[in-house]
């Protein structure tokens, strides 16, 4: 497998992880393995709500189990800085139903 595939190119960058229960966790990827287990540094959860702005919960250093990961997104820091989280309203994501 070439290095281009998989999540190696995301190491030491900020990523956004959508978990199977519909949460969104943002942090710096420090490590990973074959099964998509992740080491996420400086992470925080972004809690979306239709009634209030996005709440950011500080979590710290996490290991996230690969089985519970749906999507890993490469966060574009510039785009991210432009977002106004206080005025964003959205229903929480649906959980993954296998």
């Amino acid at each position: 497998m070439s290095n281009e595939a998989g999540i190696r190119p995301y190491v030491d960058t900020t990523i956004s992880v959508i978990t199977n229960d519909g949460r969104s966790i943002v942090g710096v990827l420090r490590g990973f393995d074959q099964t998509c287990n992740l080491i996420l540094d400086e992470c925080h959860e972004r809690v979306y709500s239709s009634k209030a702005g996005v709440e950011q919960l500080v979590l710290g250093l996490y290991v996230i189990r690969g089985d519970n990961i749906a999507v890993i997104g490469e966060v574009d820091e510039e785009l991210d800085a432009q977002l106004d989280f206080d005025s964003l309203r959205a229903e929480p994501l649906q959980p993954v139903t296998h």
């Binding site: 956004s16 749906a70 890993i72 997104g73 649906q94 139903t97 296998h98």
Partner: protein, 93 residues
Amino acid sequence: MLFYSYFKTLVGKEITVDLKNDLSITGTLHSVDQYLNIKLNNIKLANPAKYPHMLSVRNCFIRGSVVRYVQLPPGSVDVELLHDATRREARGG
């Protein structure tokens, strides 16, 4: 291996991936691996107003196990080739 090989031929094409959490992500296929994990570039969500959760994400990695469907570009489906490959795979295991 059939679908892994097939998806490799779609690299560079635009596909839409429907996930088991009802998200629908469209983007350019960057790469695929043996688990059918999918990497997309320049992604768009079908309903960004309802799903602003990935507004600052351009490129993403989708775990194969959460994929429900992949909508394929009609021009890139060679039906005869798929039939042959399926029969070969069915015989060889």
